[in-house]
């Protein structure tokens, strides 16, 4: 018993935690006592700055300015808090009435601090939370009240070009790690009063800011409520990236396919908001989640809408073709060379078998060897220090190139196949989407090695069934293919000109379906006039 007591006594910190933090204890009246408790709670760290100042000549009005160094804008604190309190306050003349009747705390709050966001404070829990998120705290001697001043300001990366999703034509800005900047980038594009940004703090330890952004009246209320309920249910120590949320929010966490769209481009998020989708912003990462996601979405890029429709349609069809090429090329190679040689033209099959003559392995081993080598190179290329990049690319070219053929390990056609899969799997606007393809490729390789073309058909059937069974927040993943929606076909495999797309996708949107006025009179008239002029000439 005594042992446990001893242990309890030594664990002094937890006592203070329980007393002042756990149950939101009120502030004390004495300033020195308050300061001592704060120091104890935070463990008196190096970056905690407590500046005690005396205001009145008599020396009875004492207060303390508390900040965490690095999280606050130091110049701001100096200019607008310390200077005001220590110097400017002496020169200001206030009415005697006010000085007599108002509390000291309120005089300071109302008359001498030129800061826009000020809040009152009376317990230790809020104090610590605000202090650690970069606000300045002012405590007064003799009052069990304090002030919170918004002085957040830290070294920020700034708005830079997106690194994972580049475009030729289109906006060049991307989100960054600060959630405020991200919301700013959205607000700058959508100036509607219905844009809702709802904040929530998730993570018991990290206390990460998570914002749910949507357009009220456009986004489906059921999905919003569902999302909020799921966010409410999350209980985790920390959220360090939006990927945590992605896995915590979905039902089928074991599916390979992403059920949320991840992007770092504000224009993409805004386009999705206009379609009635919902964005989830997480502090600390530039990657924003967009729900609900559908399969087709991963084949669409924002740039599709900035180019002429015919060309974008061509690019889209190219992406669908690439999807199948990336998924099936090695599998089809195995199936044809081992099971269905008759399906190729005779000349080609003779040439292939001529190349394969010197290769000692069956096609399966050859394909697995090359695909794995490529996957390893790809991963190494991502993680290696920049300085060794050149060395890796030279070695990679040897391993996946002429040298491998000369060594008699693989055939020439194999190099072509690996190159095709490598290039086609990188065509998707969303990087995440190539991951399931990379893994499924191996599934198809094994299936085709066992059952030939029939194996590939089986695999495709399994894949389609799985995709059909998926749902993202109640929206079928394969929409608008299954369930089929003919109207949505205008913007699925092809993109028709923007002046033919009058409606928003009905499955996401509540009721405001009309995207643009159907009789765009002005444009029609001008184009008519144009044609008349031409005929006159």
């Amino acid at each position: 018993m005594s042992f446990f007591n001893l242990w309890k006594k030594t664990n002094k910190k937890s006592d203070i935690l329980q007393e002042y933090y756990g149950e939101a204890k009120k502030l004390k009246k004495s300033l020195s006592e308050n300061i001592k408790i704060i120091k104890d709670l935070l463990g008196n760290p190096n970056d905690l700055i407590i500046r005690e100042i005396v205001i009145s000549e008599k020396g009875d009005k004492k207060l303390a300015v508390i900040v965490i160094d690095g999280l606050t804008n130091a110049l701001f604190v100096h200019d607008f808090i310390l200077k005001e309190l220590m110097l400017a306050i002496r020169t200001t003349d206030l009415d005697d009435e006010i000085i007599k009747n108002t509390k000291f705390v309120n005089i300071i709050k109302n008359h001498s601090l030129p800061i826009s966001d000020i809040d009152n404070l009376d317990d230790f829990k809020k104090l610590c939370e605000k202090l650690l998120s970069g606000d300045t705290i002012i405590l007064f001697d003799g009052y069990n009240q304090g002030l919170v001043l918004d002085t957040k300001g830290w070294k920020d990366r700034g708005v830079s070009e997106p690194s994972a999703e580049t475009v030729v034509r289109g906006a060049r800005d991307s989100f960054n790690e600060t959630i405020r900047t991200s919301t700013m980038l959205i607000r700058r594009r959508i100036k509607d009063i219905n844009l809702r940004i709802e904040n929530k703090i998730i993570g018991e330890v990290t206390k990460t800011n998570v914002s749910v952004v949507y357009i009220d009246g456009l986004a489906n209320e059921k999905i919003i409520n569902d999302l909020k309920k799921r966010l409410e249910a999350i209980s985790i120590d920390g959220i360090l990236e939006s990927g945590y949320l992605e896995e915590l929010l979905i039902n089928k966490a074991y599916s390979l396919f992403p059920s949320m769209y991840t992007t770092e481009r504000p224009d993409k998020v805004c386009a999705n908001l206009l379609e009635g989708r919902i964005a989830i912003l997480t502090d600390g990462t530039p990657f924003v989640l967009v729900i609900p996601a559908v399969f087709i979405q991963f084949f669409q890029s924002t740039e599709d809408y900035f180019q002429r429709s015919i060309f974008s349609s061509f690019i889209r069809l190219l992406r669908f073709l690439s999807f199948f090429l990336a998924l099936l090329t090695p599998a089809v190679y195995i199936a044809i060379t081992t099971f269905h040689q008759e399906m190729l033209p005779t000349n080609l099959i003779i040439s292939i078998s001529g190349q394969r003559e010197s290769v000692p392995f069956p096609a399966l081993i050859e394909v697995l060897f090359m695909e794995l080598t490529f996957e390893i190179l790809r991963e190494a290329g991502l993680r290696m220090p920049r300085a060794i990049g050149q060395a890796i690319s030279i070695v990679g070219a040897l391993a996946l190139g002429e040298a491998a053929v000369n060594a008699g390990i693989v055939s020439t056609i194999m190099i072509i196949i690996v190159s095709i899969t490598a290039i086609t799997s990188l065509i998707f606007p969303e990087y995440n989407f190539s991951n399931p393809i990379r893994l499924l490729r191996f599934m198809f390789i094994i299936l085709s090695a066992a059952f030939g073309l029939y194996g590939i058909a089986l695999g495709l059937m399994f894949l389609t069934m799985h995709l059909c069974s998926l749902k993202s927040f109640g929206i079928p993943y394969m929409y608008p293919l299954a369930p089929f929606n003919f109207k949505a076909m205008k913007d699925t495999f092809i993109r028709t000109p923007i002046n033919t797309q009058f409606r928003r996708p009905s499955i996401f949107v509540e009721d405001d379906l009309v995207k643009q006025n159907k009789n765009n009179e002005v444009i029609k008239q001008t184009s008519k006039k144009g044609s008349e002029l031409e005929s006159e000439n």
Binding site: L453, F462, T464, P483, F484
Partner: protein
């Protein structure tokens, strides 16, 4: 029963795929020789009439599957026994479809793979789809419909483009009179494809717009008939009636002859896979009906549990009930099986309608 709804167009696609199932590969109405297409038209008409008969049952019990309807009309004991017979009947047909699939595969695509392995991997597809539920099955069906039906029509165009068709193969019309034509249409009406539409009495309760179900189903049956008509005519004009009679899977045999510019040739591997997708849909619908039927019969909550029972039974049955392809085809066209078909698909529904009618008469009298 799952608590989901399927829309009418999904029912339509599922029915068309089901109807095309194995019948688009097997030659239909072979006995009628060059008049097989007339048999199909007759079969289709009777198929519509029979479905109108089912429509009378559905009208009275729109929210119930056939197993529940049997319970309600025959009383719980007799109803259960008949229900169980139906489930065995469905299970038998599941294994027949499975047999169709792997016989076709082992004949054209996977000649050296043991049939047990082919049967196993094929039934896993059935099982996975059944496991995912009717909502996924119909969605999957829509995708398959969009992909496989146009491809089938392309194959038909392929034979015409290859210049191997001869329209005079259709002549002379009605060489031996109407009798053989009607005789050939009999198995179409009772068995594949039109008689087997009976299974949809297990699926119809899921449909959203109940008042349109019969209409949708009849459209689906007519579509099936038209596509089968096209395929049969294509087979006759390419192969000729004599060669059709000799070949096991005439449609595949036809596509084998496609040769366009010496590039599009040897398409039978692809064709088998495309035609098989419909066969898979058929098997899936059957297996789903077996498991949900057992679930309703034993009043349990989750039908997925019955997969564990049904899978090995169906797999073994499909491997063992017949020795080889020719006995399998013989059994398909045997008179005993057709009598069973007639009893379960036409006579019993007639009895059910009769009982419903009598019950209504009694009610009216009481009033």
């Amino acid at each position: 029963m799952e608590k989901v709804k399927i829309s009418n167009y999904q029912l339509y696609t599922l029915m068309v795929l089901f109807g095309l199932g194995s019948s688009s590969v097997l030659g239909l109405g072979k006995e009628a020789m060059q008049d097989a297409w007339i048999s199909i038209i007759i079969g289709c008409c009777f198929g519509v009439i029979i479905f109108l008969l089912y429509g009378m049952i559905i009208k009275n019990y729109p929210d119930y599957s056939i197993i529940e309807i049997l319970n309600k009309t025959f009383g719980s004991k007799l109803g259960k026994i008949i229900g169980f017979i139906y489930i065995i009947y469905f299970a038998f047909y599941t294994s027949v479809v499975l047999r169709d699939i792997f016989e076709l595969l082992s004949l054209y695509v996977m000649t050296e793979t043991p049939i047990f392995v082919l049967a196993l991997v094929s039934i896993i597809v059935f099982a996975y789809a059944t496991f995912l539920g009717i909502e996924t099955i119909v969605r999957f069906g829509v995708l398959i419909f969009v992909i496989s039906i146009p491809l089938k029509l392309l194959f038909i165009l392929g034979t015409i483009a290859s210049g191997i068709t001869a329209l005079e193969n259709l002549l002379p019309v009605l060489e031996n009179g109407l009798r053989p034509v009607i005789g050939a249409s009999f198995p179409l009406i009772t068995g594949i494809p039109f008689g087997q539409m009976f299974i949809f009495l297990m699926v119809l309760p899921y449909v959203k717009e109940k008042e349109k179900t019969v209409k949708t189903s009849i459209y689906a049956i007519i579509t099936t008939g038209i596509i089968l008509l096209l395929i049969t005519i294509e087979n006759i004009i390419t192969l000729g009636p004599l060669f059709i009679d000799l070949s096991v899977f005439p449609t595949i045999q036809t596509i084998r002859l496609v040769n366009i510019m010496n590039f599009f040739q040897r398409l039978e591997g692809l064709a088998v896979v495309v035609f098989l997708t419909c066969g898979f849909m058929k098997g899936i619908v059957y297996l789903y009906s077996v498991t949900t039927g057992l679930n309703i019969l034993f009043k349990t909550k989750n039908y997925k549990f019955y997969l564990i029972v049904a899978l090995p039974v169906i797999l073994m049955c499909s491997l063992l009930y017949t020795q080889n392809l020719s006995t399998h085809l013989d059994l398909r066209s045997s008179i005993y099986l057709q009598l069973i078909n007639v009893a379960l698909e036409i006579l019993l529904p007639l009895i059910i309608i009769f009982i419903i009618y009598i019950k209504q008469l009694k009610k009216n009298k009481l009033k």
